[in-house]
């Protein structure tokens, strides 16, 4: 359910955000892939998430795509299409990458937002001031002060 946690607290945290980072699979995609009989793979991204990310950029909030799970570079393909490839970071340690970006931007943890969906996001979600999980029902969303009203690949950012 949307905003099952304290919405006023979440709004207060969101106001401080200067860097908004998110995962790719399970956030921009429904965490699924199509595989054809030849082994070719296809991934579905919800196109209005681009509008969400670009709206933040237009309001001087930096975006970072933090990707540990892309199989064929699909996270980069999407970032390139949105001209956000400069902010695409393939990494195995998301929290360490956030720390690096924090230093580079001269901000603190409370000014970072992070949107994730899985165990691999937990460390990053614990680190930041504003942690958001997709609506996928799971105990992992309980880590977040806010749950997005939309499921992944349906406008989560």
């Amino acid at each position: 359910m949307a905003f099952e946690k304290d919405i006023n607290d979440a709004r207060g945290r969101a106001r401080k955000v200067k860097l908004f980072a998110h995962d790719i699979h399970g956030v921009l995609t429904a965490n699924t892939l199509f595989c054809d009989v030849e082994g070719n793979r296809r991934y579905g991204f919800w196109h209005m998430d681009g509008f969400g990310d670009l709206s933040l950029t237009a309001n001087e909030i930096k975006i970072a795509y933090i990707d540990t799970t892309s199989i064929d570079g699909e996270g980069l393909f999407r970032a390139k299409e949105l001209k956000l490839d400069k902010f695409y970071y393939p990494t195995t340690d998301k929290a360490a990458k956030l720390e690096e970006l924090k230093t580079e931007m001269g901000i603190d943890d409370l000014e970072i937002g992070y949107l994730g969906c899985e165990l691999s996001d937990v460390k990053a979600m614990r680190k930041v001031g504003f942690a958001v999980a997709t609506a996928t029902p799971s105990t992992r969303s309980k880590l977040s002060p806010t749950t997005s009203p939309r499921p992944p690949a349906a406008g989560a950012p």
Binding site: C35, D36, G39, L119, K123
Partner: protein, 176 residues
């Protein structure tokens, strides 16, 4: 069967055999205008397989014929080629595996969704069906996942088995 009885059975599991169509996929075939067929798989299940394997529980795919798509998904999920089993005689394949591995029915979990799976589901100690499996498969299953086929069945099952065995916390620890 209640959840606590299912958890009791899950404690014995040492190996999980997964049907593909309707379990790892949503049981739908997607065709392009050129007749190229695709199937939809869940990436949540990649973590489910990792959780099982990292915790010492083996995993195999069992379907009538392993396609190139299944081989690709095996690579993505981290299933070795020798654990991609193509056989219509599912019980015969189980017999062969038990003979080779020394494992017994009591150690095996099978996940299936259709009538072709009923024989093996009745035989193994712990049988599981996705939420949208056939009525017959759900009827014989010890546990029915909340997830439907292709929507994270293995992710959910892995957590259920590992929580029953007291291993989930250790797996999660690596992400903290």
């Amino acid at each position: 069967m209640g959840k606590s009885e299912a958890a009791e059975k899950a404690r014995n599991v040492r190996f999980v055999i997964l049907d593909i169509h309707g379990v790892l996929t949503d049981n739908t075939l997607y065709y392009t205008q050129d007749g190229i067929k695709s199937e939809l798989f869940s990436l949540h299940d990649r973590l489910g397989v990792k959780a099982l394997v990292d915790s010492g529980i083996g995993v195999s795919f069992l379907t009538s014929k392993i396609s190139r798509a299944d081989e690709q998904m095996g690579k993505i999920y981290g299933i070795p080629p020798e654990s991609l089993w193509g056989s219509s005689a599912k019980i015969g394949r189980l017999d062969e595996f038990e003979k080779d591995s020394g494992l017994k029915d009591e150690n095996i979990c099978y996940v299936g969704d259709e009538m072709i799976d009923l024989g093996i589901m009745k035989r193994v100690f712990f049988s599981v069906a996705p939420a949208d499996a056939s009525e017959e498969a759900r009827g014989v299953a010890d546990y029915i996942t909340a997830a439907g086929g292709g929507k994270g069945v293995v992710r959910e099952l892995a957590q259920f088995i590992l929580e029953a065995q007291g291993k989930w916390g250790a797996f999660v620890e690596q992400f903290k």
